[in-house]
């Protein structure tokens, strides 16, 4: 019974936040709605990445490519094969990105330590190059798949920026809930165990390699679903959404928010997306400089302000998970 109350106490703030977020469109301009939609999508993508990056300690610099597999699958099915159903599209996206993540895991886990990072980076760029060079992955003479629209849900839906935002919010909440379930489960604990001490994990009977593959497949599949949302919302998906730079920004999001914590990566995704937007509002040309400085400052912050960084993480930390401070 105590459990029920403490559970309610934990869930209530989240529920209030979600309801408030759902009602936001009544206060916002169209442009703000669209920006927030984008922020939610990147929040979900960063949270998906962090399942591998923060929870399992697999420093992947190629996850934007897995999101890209989702985005391209959704976009191509819609534009080339006229699949309109959201449910069918998401099913296909999940299948395609799970398969791609599995291949990604099997190759990248051959490399150890820092080499794993190099290999993920190269694999990610391979997908971007494929998107750049292969004509099948381009539509209407563009360097991208264009003409993607919001899919149909099977019942009457009027898409406008407000409803798109609300719909994406619902999907993202479901995704985040799934991620929380994984983090809180025995398997989630085993992922953290494999991150902390692989030798000991195998001495305790765990097949560390399998858990690592599982982490990449889970996080890659969720990334793929976020990538599909991105394609629906942006109307196009291009090689630049898939490449190394995009993967780097995903990692930045996860770390800024607090990699390995419960909600950190999601919050980081939202914050960095907003920062990027306002930076490019201020100066399109100098926006990369601002993002670059943000990267460096974050790296230095971890070093010089461990207390501040860990306090921030403490705020975002759920009881079952501990950030590697």
């Amino acid at each position: 019974m105590v459990g029920v109350f403490s559970r309610a106490r934990r869930v209530a703030p989240v529920a209030i936040l979600v309801v408030a977020a759902f009602l936001l469109p009544f206060l916002l301009s169209t442009q703000q709605e669209s920006l927030l939609t984008r922020a939610l999508i990147f929040g979900a993508m960063a949270a998906s990445l962090d399942l591998a990056y923060g929870q399992a300690g697999l420093y992947s610099l190629g996850h934007a490519a897995l999101a890209g597999v989702g985005g391209y699958t959704a976009g191509l099915l819609m534009v080339r094969y006229e699949v309109q159903s959201f449910w069918l599209l998401m099913l296909a996206v999940a299948g395609a990105s799970a398969a791609a993540s599995m291949a990604f895991a099997l190759v990248s886990l051959r490399a150890k330590g820092l080499y794993f990072i190099l290999v993920t980076l190269a694999l990610g760029q391979m997908v971007a190059n494929l998107a750049q060079q292969w004509d099948f992955l381009k539509t209407a003479q563009a360097e991208a798949v264009t003409g993607i629209v919001m899919p149909s849900l099977g019942f009457a839906t009027i898409w406008n920026p407000g409803t798109v935002y609300q719909f994406v919010l619902v999907v993202v909440v479901v995704m985040l809930f799934t991620i929380q379930r994984i983090i809180g489960s025995p398997v989630g604990l085993a992922l953290r165990g494999a991150r902390e001490n692989g030798v000991r994990m195998s001495a305790l009977g765990y097949d560390v390699w399998r858990y690592r593959v599982a982490a990449i497949v889970l996080s890659g599949t969720l990334c793929g679903l976020s990538g599909a949302l991105f394609a629906f919302h942006s109307g196009l998906i291009a090689p630049s959404n898939v490449g190394v730079a995009a993967s780097g920004v995903l990692v930045l999001m996860a770390i800024i928010g607090g990699s390995g914590t419960r909600y950190g990566a999601f919050v980081g995704g939202v914050v960095v997306t907003l920062l990027q937007f306002y930076a490019s509002e201020w100066s399109m040309e100098r926006a990369p400089m601002i993002v670059g400085v943000l990267f460096i400052l974050t790296a230095l912050l971890i070093r010089f302000r461990p207390a501040a960084a860990s306090a921030l993480r403490g705020l975002l930390r759920g009881e079952a998970s501990h950030a590697s401070a």
């Binding site: 490399a111 190269a122 292969w134 780097g248 930045l252 670059g292 790296a299």
Partner: protein, 281 residues
């Protein structure tokens, strides 16, 4: 023949880049993904001096090497203040790529510089009945001269011995009282200078552009993964393989050329995860 010359020239540039990256990673455990950005600085510096200011190419390339050596000192400082963990190194590297790339755009403009046209290297050298473009020949010559030099440094000097020791067992080396920090500095400076020179001579065929930090980095890291660490010959063979494969696939299947390189990497990883030279990573 033209294709082979292109491949060997690219291979020479990649060797210079790959060996720097591999040294830092293998011997020092430093993941400096900004190594390609150093290359870019070398390329632009050479462009300014040789093309814009009319210096002789040799002087311009050496000056680019010097500028990048200084940049290496700054990089070493930045990487030293962050602890040697992947998170911070990734963030620092990406930050440097963005900042240096954007600075280059500010200074040299958004339009890429076309391959450097230098007097004396425009023609072709006739070998038997084959004509080899002089600029490719120059790149290969400089590249392999530096390769030889690097191999001598690693094999014959005190710093080289420390690097080799660090590669074998960093903890043991530290326990022996060898100051690895100074070795790291030396490797950063040397690696950056070589990257600057690579940018300078590479500019003869590749020009200079703000995409280079990423593009060159990716090629270099494929070299590292394919070649394995800790062996100059391994890196050399990998660079030549990749240079030639790139040249041939551009010629044979332009649609898929860059994907070929990655497929080679995947194949090597699956067959020999430690790379061609077979050292345990």
């Amino acid at each position: 023949m033209q294709v082979v010359a292109n491949g060997v020239a690219l291979g020479a540039v990649l060797f210079l880049m790959g060996s720097g990256l591999a040294l830092l990673l293998g011997a020092m455990g430093v993941l400096n993904l900004a190594h390609g950005a150093v290359y870019m600085v070398g390329a632009y510096t050479t462009w300014t001096l040789a093309i814009s200011q009319g210096w002789p190419l040799v002087g311009a390339v050496l000056a680019a090497g010097a500028v990048c050596a200084v940049l290496g000192v700054i990089l070493e400082r930045l990487f030293r203040v962050i602890p040697g963990r992947p998170n911070e190194q990734i963030l620092m590297s990406f930050g440097l790529i963005y900042v240096l790339g954007n600075l280059a755009q500010l200074v040299w403009g958004p339009v890429a510089k076309s391959p450097f046209q230098v007097a004396g290297l425009q023609g072709a050298v006739q070998v038997g009945d084959v004509a080899i473009p002089a600029n490719r020949l120059a790149i290969a010559a400089v590249g392999f001269a530096i390769a030889l030099l690097l191999w001598l440094v690693q094999d014959r000097t005190r710093v080289g011995a420390m690097v080799r020791a660090g590669m074998d067992d960093a903890e043991m080396t530290r326990a022996l009282g060898i100051n690895l920090d100074r070795v790291v500095l030396a490797v950063f400076v040397l690696g950056s200078a070589v990257a600057g020179i690579a940018g300078g001579i590479g500019g003869l065929v590749l020009g200079a552009s703000t995409n280079q930090p990423m593009d060159v980095l990716l090629l270099a890291l494929i070299v590292v993964v394919v070649g394995g660490i800790g062996s100059v010959p391994g890196t050399l063979v990998a660079s030549l393989m990749i240079g030639l494969l790139d040249a041939f696939s551009r010629y044979q299947f332009p649609e898929m050329s860059s994907v070929m390189l990655y497929l080679l990497m995947v194949a090597v990883l699956v067959a020999r995860p430690t790379g061609l030279s077979g050292r345990v990573a």
